[in-house]
Symmetry: C2
């Protein structure tokens, strides 16, 4: 079975590695000659708008998927004529644009912070809908905190709009959240939908640093999150893995962002759940039965950002799992992650303190 | 880091897959053009006696290892001049030959069934040392039960010798064992030695069908098995993973066979232990710290032999992990395995009954 993967970063790499034991061969498509998935899987290196290369790529593929959401929608639409594309390109279209994303969430009844599109000629109108503090964001192209500015006052808001303003913008109310969590779900071709336990996420400078799974004290929130995933995926007849980033405010969960793909906050599932998000994504898009989502013990996932630390102290930790992506280190770049597994949160914290000393 | 692997079967394949997350790239060397590890790693296809190809292969390798024990010793010796070979080629030399193997075990004080080399001109002499029932085996080249005949009477013994007798033979007493178990250990470059829990193995027609890990009621036997592994590996200054197949007779463990490599009865460690035998082998030969050996719950490993069964019923089992090797099916050939994980033996048995109906 051959699966085409649009994008050849670490997510494509981990998809490919999850495929081999299932008898699934992933072939990645990425314009970057050094795309790291190309170290573990065949790599077709061509621009996303190269129609000939895309048609070539589609040949013999049982299904085509994508590993990042900024693949041009036109690319996915073109491929659809030659092979099934799952998840639906419609998901790319919606979730590449923060305004369409929020409008869609609103339409299917998933609460979000208040939001409004910014009219560049009358930026004050959006502010009056949302209020301060707020976050000004570019509608498209932002990731890892890029293209976002928090504003505490109307003046700061206007400065943020001026700074980002060459692109279409959205402004969102700043949610007074207690913590950030995410839920990762998978929907099969038959409509069956499953979710992993909630994950607690810690960001710094807009980049995910640490996930704890399952999120402590989150059992009561899971049905709510599951309902969001079910509504979201059913509305799109979505097939595959999908991540929903959420703000927890008391017993409420406000949706922040949707990623129509495997997600950094789900890396813990490789060792921490019976079936990883990567395997479950492949199972789903190939129409195979979905795998077990329950956690095996508890996990912490620590991103390696910008540099690879000395490995020996990490490998000495009982229950530590190293994942390097084969990427050359660069400031702010995710070059790998470590998953720590433990039987309980106390021993997890102990192991974590070796890697993240306070 | 680049590691050269002599042999490109499923063991080489799983070594390569274990290497990628560690930042280790395995390159396999195998004379067979369709060696299945070549689907997941670069493959140098050349005969084992091609000195030029071997020298080429050694270039840039941090270390060279082997994934099956019938690699010619001369191949490993030649490579030693160009890169470190771990485990030591001496282990190949000893464990390729059942007589040298048994003599070595005897020398380091590890009990075995009685054994004697068969003198083709006076086969009765060996029988008088060993008695009936016994097992006549070729000294070299046997695997998966090939080259072995059980004899219950002196007549059967003589017929077995006549049947196998063009090659050097050994005869061993047939141990009245209660069960077959194996212990898999790993020794680091600093001499640190660790073992996984004992595994209970079930063979049919000489081929491993099913392993249960940890072997039920085996905790009390583990120190004994650990001692064997320590003696065996220390005597050879062995570095890497090693498997010892044992007969359990009451509280005694008699050594049957040594495999100086990762082993089929250790496949459960991929999901069932914190660090798999494949990762631990790579860690050991690269001089990295060894990983955790404790079991995570209990596991059953079922070999897929000769054919790939319908996958859907397998994938539906909670805690089932499929491993296909990318080999074309052929009678008696291992084409994959399934590992079932569970919290306890009762639920394990329930899951197992789906795959192996009684």
């Amino acid at each position: 079975m051959e699966v085409g993967v649009l994008g050849g970063g670490q997510l494509g790499r981990m998809l490919a590695l999850a495929g081999y034991p299932l008898g699934v061969r992933c072939i990645v498509y990425d314009p970057a000659p050094d795309a790291c998935a190309g170290q573990v899987a065949p790599h077709l290196c061509a621009p996303f708008d190269d129609a000939d290369a895309l048609v070539q790529f589609a040949k013999g593929k049982q299904v085509i998927t994508y590993e990042f959401e900024n693949v041009p929608v036109a690319t996915a639409r073109l491929l659809e004529a030659h092979a099934p594309v799952r998840p639906t390109p419609r998901a790319l279209e919606l979730f590449q644009d923060r305004l369409l994303e929020k409008q869609f969430l609103y339409a299917v009844g998933i609460p979000t912070p208040a939001f409004a599109p910014v009219d560049p000629d009358h930026p004050d109108r959006a502010l009056s809908e949302v209020g301060c503090p707020c976050v000004v964001k570019t509608r498209r192209g932002g990731y890892d905190g890029k293209g976002q500015i928090v504003a505490h006052t109307p003046d700061e808001y206007l400065r943020a709009v001026a700074q980002l303003g060459s692109q279409p913008l959205i402004v969102e109310a700043f949610a007074p959240f207690e913590r950030e969590v995410s839920v990762i779900g998978v929907r099969g071709r038959n409509g069956e939908t499953r979710v992993y336990p909630l994950v607690e996420n810690h960001h710094r400078d807009g980049i995910l640093r640490l996930s704890i799974a399952p999120a402590p004290d989150s059992d009561a929130l899971l049905p709510l999150a599951r309902g969001y995933i079910e509504r979201l995926t059913a509305a799109l007849d979505y097939v595959g893995v999908l991540a929903l980033e959420l703000f927890q405010v008391g017993n409420q969960l406000l949706a922040n962002e949707v990623a129509p793909r495997v997600h950094n906050s789900g890396h813990w599932t490789i060792e921490g759940a019976h079936t990883s998000q990567f395997e479950n994504h492949l199972r789903a898009i190939l129409g195979l039965p979905l795998g077990g989502m329950a956690a095996r013990g508890v996990c912490a996932m620590v991103n390696l950002i910008g540099a690879i630390p000395p490995l020996e102290p990490i490998l000495r930790i009982e229950g530590a799992h190293l994942h390097l992506y084969g990427k050359s280190p660069r400031a702010g770049r995710k070059v790998g992650h470590i998953t720590l597994c433990a039987d309980g949160y106390a021993s997890l914290q102990e192991r974590l303190s070796v890697i993240l000393p306070r």
